[in-house]
């Protein structure tokens, strides 16, 4: 085992602590400028000077943001906490795991499948950033716009296509496997199906209009989709006098759909002899110019009719709409000559993503999730853009495509975490990792588990779930974490407690509190994680068996985990641990889970306090 050296880099927040004394307390050598076997550095990697980084190259290092962990208190108190934290880091460093020296280069090719503004913008941006792009078009014309898109905007962008885009007309993506840096795509074109390899894939099918359902019972000859009223002069030609437009009645409308209904109502109302009534539940005016369109339509004379639940009712063999006016509180009837139904743009979810063992359900791949924006999906390197995602046409689609391309450029350029290490001899090929990894990193290839080169976020869910301890992101195996915790707990004064802190929520909040001088209990040992998903039942129980009196796991709120289910897995593990403890006749209150966000430091401070109060009560 390499003996770690303490490299002390002056950082704000460590004032008053003496490196030699701490090194001694933690059983570390203090850096004297000599050779290093392994190291603990007391600042985050990005803040270390280049010279030190060069010296540490190729050696196991634990980067410990000590200032984020210490908090306030007297010198003795802080010294005690620092010694425990340093011991923890030293324990991990002493196992000496290095990121793999060799990892496969991510494939740099980008596949853009689809048509319209989003596909065009993605292909353009990826090519501008130097990626070879294959653009699989559903039709022939790269300048074709999707439903609801501004044709001149699309044509303008398509006019100046950069070099590096290979067009594959009339080609459809029929199947896809893999993750960031290593995708395999099945492309069906006029010449048949071909299999190709890509580093990243953006799916952006062109949108089509879909009309909302007509009210049940409406005479079928009356209703038409909104686009069937083009041009507006049709109204006079048909001799329509009373025109009804339903917007957001059969199903909720979007602001874009509603704006289109308003514009249409306005155009029809301008026809001589026509009276338009717009029926809706809510006036959705949040689209650009939405409120202006709403006012213009009223000014032109369009009747606005708000409906309640279950309205409109139908009378006269489905030829008369009946609803209660919300101002007058009396029934109004309208026998329209024609009923137009508002349309929304959308695209069908591709079949290969459904009913496919290799892809998670849509709700897991593309959850409505604050951290999965910019076209991203849970699968790293795979993007869903434009109409398929429900992104409004126009600037929003351009922005989404740009964000997606920046993300893939970053991933393929080395922005992903180092490849998880797979111990082939211990691996039982049970495929648990393939099943649980939210980002699609491990792939089962020729009886091996082969991680995709540019997809891992080091969430550690695979390491927590693998029954054989055969896979873990480098530095995050159970063995390494336990070695660190064992050393840390040995140095921490009783009662010792471990906080397992998610790097997206709990750790930033903990660091903020520490920096503002919050005094943590002396025996509180922090385990900073990338994601709470790394916590498993085994880790919690082993920490307790090492003598920790309590374990608090803090992860994101439900629905904001960057790795989709990491927080839920951690919560489940915490519950299982509590169950195990009560089965053994021990207090289940020794473990608990906290849902929090990075801007809720007070919730974390309260939970730690409560845990300590409980530990005191148990004793």
């Amino acid at each position: 085992m390499p003996r770690p050296t303490l490299c002390w880099v002056a950082a704000p927040g460590l004032e008053g602590l003496e490196p030699p004394a701490l090194a001694m307390a933690a059983g570390l050598d203090l850096d004297q400028g000599g050779a290093l076997e392994a190291a603990v550095v007391t600042v985050p990697e990005v803040q270390a000077p280049d010279k030190l980084r060069a010296r540490l190259l190729g050696r196991p290092v634990q980067w410990l943001d000590l200032a984020a962990e210490l908090g306030g208190g007297g010198e003795g108190h802080r010294g005690q906490r620092a010694a425990a934290a340093l011991s923890r880091a030293a324990g991990r460093a002493s196992l000496g795991t290095l990121p793999p020296l060799y990892s496969p280069q991510p494939n740099q090719r980008v596949l853009v499948a689809g048509q319209g503004l989003a596909a065009l913008a993605a292909a353009r941006q990826a090519a501008l950033l130097g990626h070879p792009v294959l653009w699989a078009l559903s039709g022939d014309d790269p300048a074709a716009a999707g439903a609801g898109e501004d044709a001149s905007q699309v044509a303008g962008l398509a006019a100046g296509l950069p070099e590096g885009i290979e067009l594959a007309p009339q080609t459809e993506l029929t199947n896809l496997t893999g993750a960031g840096g290593s995708f395999t795509a099945w492309l069906k074109g006029p010449q048949g199906t071909a299999r190709q390899r890509f580093g990243a894939v953006a799916l952006a099918p062109g949108g089509a209009y879909r009309a909302e359902p007509a009210p049940p019972g409406l005479a079928p000859d009356l209703s038409r989709p909104l686009s069937a009223c083009q041009p507006a002069s049709l109204a006079s030609a048909q001799g329509w006098r009373q025109v009804a437009i339903l917007a957001g009645v059969g199903q909720p409308a979007t602001a874009q759909g509603f704006a289109r209904a308003l514009a249409t109502a306005y155009a029809l109302q301008a026809q001589p002899g026509v009276q338009v009534t717009l029926l809706f539940r809510e006036a959705l005016v949040a689209a650009p110019q939405g409120e202006r369109l709403y006012r213009q339509a009223r000014q032109a004379g369009v009747l606005m009719a708000r409906l309640g639940d279950g309205e409109p009712r139908l009378a006269d063999q489905g030829r008369t709409l009946v609803w209660q006016d919300q101002v007058l509180a009396e029934d109004l009837e309208l026998a329209p000559d024609v009923v137009f139904l508002c349309e929304e743009t959308g695209a069908p979810w591709p079949g290969f993503l459904d009913n496919n063992l290799l892809w998670p359900a849509r709700s897991r791949l593309l959850p409505e999730h604050a951290r999965l924006d910019g076209g991203r999906t849970a699968r790293a390197g795979f993007y869903v853009l434009g109409a398929l995602r429900g992104t409004p046409a126009g600037e929003d689609r351009l922005a989404e495509a740009a964000a997606a391309v920046h993300d893939l450029h970053d991933l393929l350029g080395g922005g992903a975490a180092p490849l998880p290490a797979v111990r082939t001899l211990t691996c039982a090929r049970c495929l648990t990792c393939v099943r649980v990894c939210p980002h699609g990193v491990p792939e089962h290839v020729e009886d091996h588990i082969q991680p995709a080169p540019a997809a891992c976020l080091a969430c550690g869910i695979c390491a927590a779930e693998c029954p054989a301890h055969a896979i873990a992101p480098p530095g995050w195996s159970t063995a390494e974490l336990m070695e660190g915790l064992a050393c840390g707990l040995a140095a921490a004064p009783a009662p010792a407690m471990v906080l397992m802190a998610c790097g997206q929520s709990a750790m930033p909040a903990f660091a903020e509190l520490s920096r503002s001088g919050h005094v943590w209990p002396a025996g509180l040992l922090v385990l900073p994680l990338k994601c709470a998903g790394r916590v498993g039942l085994e880790l919690i129980l082993r920490v307790l068996s090492l003598g920790a009196e309590g374990v608090l796991v803090a992860g994101c709120h439900e629905g904001m985990c960057r790795s989709v289910t990491g927080n839920l897995r951690a919560r489940l593990a915490t519950g299982q641990a509590a169950g195990t403890l009560s089965d053994l006749g021990l207090g289940p209150e020794a473990v608990s889970f906290l849902h929090m966000a990075n801007n809720q430091p007070q919730a974390l401070a309260k939970a730690v306090e409560a845990m300590y109060a409980r530990l005191g009560a148990v004793e």
């Binding site: 985050p44 990005v46 803040q47 941006q125 501008l128 950033l129 979007t254 602001a255 809510e282 006036a283 959705l284 005016v285 949040a286 650009p288 110019q289 939405g290 409120e291 202006r292 006012r295 708000r306 101002v327 509180a329 409505e368 999730h369 604050a370 951290r371 924006d373 910019g374 429900g390 600037e395 929003d396 351009l398 922005a399 989404e400 740009a402 964000a403 391309v405 920046h406 450029h409 970053d410 350029g413 922005g415 997206q504 929520s505 930033p508 903020e512 920096r515 503002s516 994101c556 709120h557 439900e558 629905g559 904001m560 849902h595 929090m596 966000a597 990075n598 801007n599 809720q600 007070q602």
Partner: protein, 374 residues
């Protein structure tokens, strides 16, 4: 002009190093959500940038927002500020200057030369991040492209004087309620809450004929959080229309409708009552009705940034719709400076601004970036 040696530009040595040793081809004015996101997006493209923030802290207005999750995330985006700050701290190529104000700009080739001056102001509210370095003295920055990310300003509720803000005790803005909730609870013994929507939005009389887009979701999530923190509290929601925020929102909204009183009317007046502010509104029978609340919360709209006219003049931009900023040659707009946008939308719009800035650098033959002492 192309002397790259260290020059004494700021007060302290660190500043000299980080300004002159790195190329900063893009200048980002505003260090809020959009500014930070633009800097990160540029960094993902391999382009360095300099963020200039007039206040003492990065993160902008959203840094003071609270998490609106109960047990489940409400997707309000407030925690994204923390994410951005954390990511920015890990990107060494990203530079930021706080308490710096852009006061003049001159076109130089395809790029700009921008004058920055130190801005005296309040001390940082939260512990300073490594990124937050105050500008020492006047500085000239030559840059290939500029991204304006100066955010929005919130409508001054005093202009709707009938709603009692600033006059009637117990009337506050949604932003103020947010600050209170961020500190951990409802003020005092507030149990009866009224929310008034569209204060300063959808208002032709005020010349604000646009929907501020974010307030419905913002106010309803605040209301839900308030009910969660004080389980006995009752919420009345005065509104015209509830805007739509997608599939997951609709399910949330259905729950909110079940637990709160939604009244489709805007109160005409709020005046002091015996035990709290008294709202006068049209009842269901079309008659004026009075009701007393403990708190009346005004959902104030988003307005163009204060700096919009000055920046438009500085960079020769034509004012955009409703007074928000629009871009020009080598000048891009990100976030709510360009129109009402949520946090998530601001972050996405920053990606587009970054992409356009990068394209401008290539096509516009921008001069090599340079920082000089004025």
């Amino acid at each position: 002009m192309h002397n790259r040696g260290p020059r004494r530009v700021g007060g302290c040595l660190e500043e000299i190093i980080f300004l002159s040793a790195l190329d900063k081809p893009v200048l980002i004015i505003g260090g809020g959500v959009a500014g930070l996101a633009a800097a990160l997006e540029l960094d993902r493209r391999g382009l360095a940038s300099l963020v200039v923030e007039k206040g003492p802290n990065l993160g902008g207005q959203a840094r003071g927002f609270c998490c609106k999750a109960l047990e489940v995330c409400a997707r309000c985006g407030a925690c994204r500020v923390g994410d951005l700050l954390q990511q920015a701290a890990q990107r060494p190529a990203l530079g930021a200057l706080t308490q710096a104000l852009a006061v003049a700009a001159q076109r130089q080739g395809a790029g700009w030369e921008v004058t920055l001056i130190p801005q005296e102001g309040p001390k940082p509210t939260s512990p300073a991040l490594a990124l937050e370095r105050p500008l020492g003295e006047r500085l000239l920055v030559q840059t290939g492209a500029v991204i304006l990310a100066v955010g929005h300003q919130v409508f001054d509720a005093r202009k709707k004087s009938r709603l009692g803000y600033g006059r009637v005790p117990g009337v506050m803005t949604a932003g103020e309620l947010e600050e209170t909730l961020a500190k951990g609870g409802l003020p005092g013994q507030a149990r009866r809450l009224a929310f008034v929507q569209c204060v300063g939005s959808r208002d032709q009389a005020l010349g604000r004929l646009y929907c501020s887009r974010v307030c419905c979701g913002f106010a309803l999530r605040l209301a839900r959080l308030a009910r969660y923190l004080e389980p006995g509290s009752e919420v009345t929601f005065f509104h015209m229309d509830v805007q739509d925020y997608g599939q997951a929102w609709r399910a949330e909204l259905a729950e909110m409708r079940a637990g709160m009183r939604f009244i489709r009317a805007i109160p005409g007046e709020v005046r002091p009552g015996a035990g709290g502010p008294l709202a006068v509104f049209a009842g269901p029978d079309g008659q004026p009705q009075e009701e007393e609340f403990d708190l009346v919360v005004l959902a104030t709209g988003l307005e163009p940034p204060v700096a919009a006219p000055a920046l438009s003049e500085m960079f020769g931009l034509t004012p955009g719709a409703e007074g928000f900023l629009t871009g020009g040659q080598g000048v891009l707009v990100a976030g709510s400076a360009g129109g009402p946008r949520s946090i998530a939308e601001s972050i996405e719009s920053a990606a587009q601004a970054a992409a356009s800035a990068a394209e401008h650098l290539v096509s516009g033959q921008a001069p090599s970036p340079e920082v000089a002492h004025a």
